[in-house]
């Protein structure tokens, strides 16, 4: 599953999507299930949709969400209620209609010959890794997961990971599940004791940066999915730039997944609050 090959030549779609379910899965975390047949058929792991949360000028800009799962006619999005847009999203009911642009961005680039992939998820960083875990496992790739969250309840997607991964090891800030502390302790151990062919990381940027350093030290290729505030989502506005060794690139079309070695980590971003 070289996702970049899938993305090549792909054209984003503008689709009316219908809310099939919108449920709270943890404190401040929602799972949105959307009927979105055209995007569901086209999306690759690590890609995102750009959702117009409400018509009118109250929520003028779209919000980008990674696609957590895609099955049949539906896509699922995990979101954290952090700002006014996501608070509005949490109030959406079954039957509500929004419009979405997608699939957008370059997804996870996992080489065809990878036999073992380590996924490292921090908090809502689990979202773009869910579909990847499913598709890799379906292809017969061994999947390991290192997952961290503030507490056991916030280990979103843990059930999915445990159903498809060969091993799942967790860490929580409060010690309510797995090891107390940061996921970087777990990711480091797995990198050293159960060496993967590739590491795929998503989470707070300081965490992604730390895991990228661990992977570099272990000599394992590392991909990171980065989050930025964005306006257009299709590459025009230059709001969502990531500083790379080749200059500033757009998270929306050149990412959101980047090779960790091309990212200039200085000035790692605070998480966007949208």
């Amino acid at each position: 599953m070289s996702c970049s090959d899938l993305d090549a030549g792909q054209h984003p779609l503008l689709e009316r999507v219908e809310v099939l379910a919108n449920e709270r899965v943890a404190e401040g975390v929602g799972l949105l299930v959307l009927r979105s047949p055209r995007i569901a058929a086209a999306v690759a792991p690590g890609q995102f949709v750009h959702l117009r949360i409400a018509a009118g000028a109250d929520f003028l800009l779209r919000r980008p969400f990674s696609v957590y799962r895609a099955h049949g006619d539906t896509i699922e999005l995990l979101y954290q209620v952090l700002g006014r847009g996501t608070r509005e999203l949490a109030d959406h009911m079954r039957g509500d209609v929004m419009d979405a642009i997608g699939p957008l961005g370059r997804g996870w680039d996992v080489p065809e010959d990878a036999a073992h992939v380590l996924l490292v998820a921090g908090g809502l960083g689990a979202a773009p890794l869910g579909m990847l875990a499913e598709r890799l496992a379906a292809r017969g790739v061994a999947v390991s997961v290192a997952q961290g969250a503030p507490c056991a309840e916030r280990l979103v997607a843990r059930d999915l990971f445990e159903s498809v991964a060969r091993r799942v090891e967790v860490a929580t800030d409060d010690g309510s599940a797995g090891e107390p502390g940061f996921v970087t302790v777990v990711s480091h151990r797995l990198l050293v004791t159960d060496r993967p062919d590739v590491v795929c990381v998503c989470g707070p940027e300081v965490m992604a940066r730390a895991v990228a350093a661990q992977a570099a030290e272990a000599g394992v290729p590392c991909r990171v999915s980065l989050e930025r505030l964005m306006a257009c989502g299709i590459g025009a506005c230059l709001s969502c730039v990531v500083t790379t060794v080749d200059g500033r690139k757009r998270a929306c079309v050149d990412g959101p997944v980047f090779d960790a070695e091309e990212v200039c980590w200085d000035g790692a971003e605070a998480p966007p609050r949208h």
Binding site: D58, L61, R62, A231, C232, G235, S239, E269
Partner: protein, 312 residues
């Protein structure tokens, strides 16, 4: 009222300004449409009146730090900072592609000095696919150049004159709303040789995250755009249209065909759709369709009949 609304079966949407004939008055606003490539997945570019490109400078500009964008009430702030690959790369990558699209191309130009603006235009003079230039003296997101030239008369005139000296192509100057009296600037650039003015660029603003006590933009301040600024833009278009003889292009918060009609009534000869492109990539087409529908509904045979037709 009824006798003033004859039945119209087809609307002549064409407008002419500064010697450029456009198939309709709906253009894109610089910086919201890149060079059109990203939008070709959603709309037929040849239906646009014109594409106004992202600002291009002599050398590559890297732009500002992130975050570069923040949503505000009925609007947004941006502080991109004119990131662009420079005029050479622009000609090779963007202009070549765009000039094959059957749509007039207006190249937006930026610089640090009047001479630098002129050098960008000189380079573009050798390219065939340029219908007009739009000189940006109004970007609030750069320390040098940009708005510094557009907030007083002498520098605004100096940039206009420098560019005027190197081209006979139609020259549009894009004005800043961050001034006490925009008509003074408009007159200054008209006297210096501008063929048209476009207004308004973004209003300087800022947003603060009370939870973190930090500004929402890395550069602290940025340019406000979207429906929030439409009343200000309309007022300034109305003022400038009465103050200068050259055509005015209206821009600021246009989301619908009705918004476009309002700018034409205030005196604009054409309009630019900006922030709306981010909200809905088909916005330009919705504005065009809405404008056409308005004309049919009101018995307006020529869209140009709306220009300055405000009844005060």
């Amino acid at each position: 009222m009824e006798q003033r609304r004859p039945r119209v079966t087809s609307v002549d949407l064409s407008v002419e300004f500064a010697g450029v004939r456009l198939r309709n008055p709906v253009m894109t606003a610089s910086g919201t449409f890149a060079s059109g490539r990203e939008y070709a997945d959603f709309i037929d570019l040849s239906r646009l009146g014109a594409v106004v490109t992202k600002g291009v400078s002599l050398e590559p500009w890297t732009g500002n730090e992130s975050p570069r964008v923040a949503e505000t009430a009925s609007g947004m702030l941006n502080s991109i900072g004119l990131q662009n690959p420079g005029v050479e790369a622009f000609c090779a990558r963007d202009l070549r592609w765009l000039s094959e699209r059957d749509v007039p191309v207006v190249v937006n130009v930026s610089g640090h000095s009047p001479e630098e603006y002129a050098r960008v235009v000189e380079r573009l003079e050798s390219e065939a696919g340029v219908a007009a230039y739009e000189v940006n003296i109004s970007c609030p997101n750069v320390d040098e150049g940009g708005m510094a030239f557009g907030t007083s008369c002498a520098p605004a005139a100096a940039v206009t004159a420098a560019v005027r000296a190197v081209t006979k192509r139609p020259l549009i100057v894009k004005l800043s709303p961050n001034v006490t009296d925009i008509t003074e600037i408009a007159r200054a650039v008209e006297d210096a040789g501008a063929d048209a003015v476009s207004l308004v660029n973004t209003l300087l603003g800022m947003a603060i995250d009370a939870e973190t006590r930090r500004p929402r933009l890395a550069r602290v301040v940025g340019g406000l755009s979207g429906p929030a600024i439409k009343p200000v833009a309309l007022r300034m278009v109305w003022q400038v249209a009465r103050a200068v003889a050259v055509p005015v292009i209206g821009v600021g918060g246009i989301m619908t065909g009705e918004d476009a009609v309002e700018f034409l009534l205030a005196g604009a000869s054409a309009v630019q759709v900006g922030t709306a492109n981010f909200v809905d990539p088909t916005s330009t087409m919705r504005v065009l369709d809405g404008l056409t529908e308005y004309c049919v509904r009101h018995g307006v045979a020529r869209v140009s009949d709306l220009i300055g037709a405000l009844e005060v």
